[in-house]
Amino acid sequence: MGLAKGFGVTFRQMGAANRVTVPYPQQKRDKPERLHGRHVLNRYEDGMEKCIGCELCAGVCPAKCIYVRGKDNPEDHPVSPGERYGFVYEINYLRCIHCDLCVEACPTEAITETKLFEFSFANRQDAIYTKDELLVDDDGRAQRMPWEHWEGHEDTHTSAWMRATSSGGRADYENRVNWSGELGVGVRAPEQGQHAPAAPVATVATDATNAHGSDDHGQAHH
C-alpha cells in the first residue's frame, strides 16, 4: 500500500502545469529587488561621479577586494562635485562575496549593487572590474561587459539594498531615503518603504530629525 502511495505521488506530478524549473538562459525568473549582484558606480544627474574616493568601502570590505585611490578634482573640469574623486576604483570579483557592506558604507550612494551576477570570465584579468567598467553609462545604466549575460531590464533597481538599509534600523526613518539625484533616474521620490504594511506608516515630521538628533551623539557604551 505504501508503495502505491509513492507511485501515486510521482504519477501526480506528470503534466506540464507544475514545472518548477525554467529553461534557464532563455527564460529567467524575476530577481528580488534586494539581490546582491555586481556593483555599479553611480553618477549624478549632471553626469558628475558620485564617488569621492573616501575609501570607506575598501576599508569595510571583509574580503579586501576593493581598491580605491582618491585624487583632488582637477579645477577645470571636476569629475565629482566634492573636493576629491575616485581616481582608481577597482573591484576584484574573484574575491567579492557580495556582502554589500560597501553599499552600506558608502556615504554618497556612489556604489550600489545591480542584480547582475551571470559572469563568465575567461581569464583572471577580466574579473577585475576597473572604474571605467563599473561606472554607469550616459543613460545611467550598467555597462554590459562581453562576458556578462543579462537582459535589458535587469539593471534597474540598483539601489534596493541601499534603500533597505538606509534607515539604520530606525522605524521613523523607514520612509526617508536620502536619495540624491541619479543619472537616468533623477531625484526619485522615496520609493515604497521597506517596512511591513502591518506597521503604521511612519509619517516623518519635519521635527523628527530633531527629536532623534540627540541620539546621533551616541553615548559611549562604557
Binding site: 508503495l3 509513492g6 510521482t10 506530478q13 506528470m14 514545472r19 518548477v20 524549473t21 529553461p23
Partner: protein, 406 residues
C-alpha cells in the same frame, strides 16, 4: 546440413545457399535490428529523461533537437570525442574489452524476439525476427547470464576498490537472479510446451478480448510475470536494484574508472538491456505482436496493414508501456540494500517461483490427464509448502548455536 541459427524460419524452407538472396536477407535483418535497437535506445534515454523530469517537476533535456530528442546523440558525440583514460593499475586488455562484452548479449537476446508476423523481403518469405530458434527461450537465458561478464570484468580490470566491489556485487546478483529469472520464464514454457519464442507468440494470438485473459500468459502465469519482471530489473541493474553502480555507495561501481566512449557503451548496453528485457517480457507474457486488428472493414483483417504493420505497432506499444513502468519505478522507489536484494532473491522469489512452477505443472498435467484440478492443485501446493516447512524447521534459528566447521 542446416544453418546454425534460424532453423524454424520459412526463409530456410529451401536448402541454404550461401551465394543467394538468403544471405542478403539475413544480413539485412541483422543490420536493421541493430540500427533499430540503437535508435530505440536513443529514444528511450530521451523518453526516460523526459518522463522522469516530468515526474520531478523538471523540464528535462530541451535543447538538442526538437524537445531535446537528440540529447542522447549529442551526449554520445561528446563522449566519443572525450579523452579515454586508463588507470595505471588497470588490466589494459580486459579494461578495453569489457564494454563490448556488455553490449553483445543485449543485442543477441533481442535477436530471438518476434517483432511481427511473416513478411516478404526481396522476394523471400521470412519472419520479422532476426533468428527463430527452436530453443529461443533457453537462448534468452544464456544471454542474460553472459551479460554479467562485461560488468564483472570492467570492475575487476579497473584495478581499484569501488569498481571491484561493484564487480563482486554484479556477479553475485546476476548468479542469484538468474535462477529466479529462469523459473519465472519456466511457468510460461510449461504452459506453452515449447522453447521457441515464435511458438509462444503464436499461442497468444489475438482472437478477441477473451484471449487477453485466456491466451496471453499474463494471467495464466501471473506470478511468473511478477517474478520475471523483478528478476529482469535486477539483472539489468535497474533501480531500485542498481547496486552495481550505486552512485551513493560505490561512487559509480564498475564504471568508476571509465571515461569517454567506453563509458557510453556501458550505458548503451544497460539501456539496451532494459529495452530487450521489455521486449522479452512482451513476448512471453503480453502476446508479443498480437492485438486486435485496426479498422478491419477498411484494411481487411489479414491485409498488408493488419498483417504486417499493426502487429509491429502493438509490439511497440507494449514495449513502451513496460519501459514507462521502468521509468516510473526509477522515479518512485528508493534503493534496496544489497543484502535485502539477495534475501529477496533467495528467500522469496526462488521459493515462490518453485511453488508456482509446481502449481503450473500440476495444472497442466491435470488438464492433460483429466484429473480433478480442484483436488490436485491444493494437494500439490500443500505438499510443496510442507517441504518448505521441513526445510525451514531444519534451519538454525536466530540465537541457536551451531557447531562450526573449522
Amino acid at each position: 546440413m542446416r544453418f546454425l541459427f534460424s532453423a524454424g524460419d520459412p526463409l530456410f524452407d529451401e536448402a541454404f545457399d550461401f551465394m543467394s538472396m538468403m544471405t542478403v536477407v539475413v544480413l539485412l535483418k541483422v543490420v536493421v535490428a541493430f540500427v533499430v535497437l540503437l535508435v530505440s535506445v536513443m529514444l528511450y534515454i530521451w523518453g526516460m529523461r523526459k518522463w522522469i523530469a516530468d515526474m520531478q517537476n523538471r523540464v528535462g533535456p530541451a535543447n538538442a533537437g526538437p524537445a531535446g530528442v537528440l540529447q542522447t546523440l549529442a551526449d554520445g558525440i561528446k563522449l566519443f570525442f572525450k579523452e579515454q583514460s586508463i588507470p595505471d593499475s588497470a588490466d589494459r586488455p580486459i579494461f578495453r574489452l569489457a564494454p563490448y562484452l556488455s553490449i553483445l548479449p543485449a543485442f543477441l537476446m533481442f535477436c530471438v524476439v518476434p517483432i511481427g508476423g511473416e513478411v516478404e523481403i526481396l522476394g523471400r518469405k521470412t519472419y520479422l525476427q532476426v533468428a527463430e530458434l527452436p530453443i529461443g527461450a533457453m537462448f534468452i537465458l544464456a544471454c542474460s547470464g553472459i551479460a554479467v561478464y562485461g560488468v564483472m570484468l570492467a570492475g575487476w580490470s579497473s584495478g581499484s576498490k569501488y569498481p571491484l566491489l561493484g564487480a563482486v556485487r554484479a556477479s553475485a546478483q546476476v548468479l542469484s537472479y538468474e535462477a529466479a529469472f529462469g523459473l519465472g520464464m519456466l511457468a510460461v514454457l510449461m504452459r506453452a510446451g515449447t522453447l521457441s519464442t515464435r511458438e509462444i507468440v503464436n499461442q497468444q494470438q489475438w482472437v478477441g478480448m477473451e484471449s487477453l485473459v485466456r491466451d496471453w500468459f499474463l494471467l495464466p502465469a501471473f506470478l511468473g510475470f511478477a517474478i520475471f519482471i523483478l528478476a529482469a530489473i535486477a539483472e539489468t541493474n535497474h533501480p531500485p536494484f542498481d547496486f552495481v553502480e550505486a552512485e551513493q555507495e560505490l561512487v559509480g561501481g564498475f564504471v568508476t574508472e571509465y571515461t569517454g566512449i567506453r563509458f557510453a557503451i556501458f550505458f548503451l548496453a544497460e539501456f539496451m538491456n532494459i529495452i530487450t528485457m521489455s521486449a522479452v517480457a512482451t513476448t512471453l507474457f503480453l502476446g508479443g505482436p498480437s492485438g486486435p486488428a485496426i479498422w478491419p472493414d477498411r484494411f481487411g483483417a489479414g491485409g498488408w496493414v493488419n498483417g504486417t504493420v499493426v502487429p509491429v505497432l502493438w509490439f511497440v506499444a507494449k514495449v513502451l508501456l513496460l519501459t514507462f513502468c521502468t521509468v516510473w519505478i526509477r522515479a518512485s522507489l528508493p534503493r534496496l540494500r544489497y543484502d535485502q536484494l539477495m534475501a529477496l532473491g533467495w528467500k522469496w522469489l526462488i521459493e515462490l517461483a518453485v511453488l508456482f512452477v509446481l502449481y503450473v505443472i500440476v495444472d497442466e498435467v491435470a488438464q492433460a490427464e483429466g484429473w480433478n484440478r480442484a483436488i490436485a492443485i491444493p494437494l500439490a501446493l500443500v505438499g510443496g509448502i510442507a517441504a518448505y516447512g521441513v526445510l525451514y524447521l531444519c534451519m538454525p534459528k536466530r540465537g541457536e548455536t551451531v557447531e562450526e566447521f573449522r
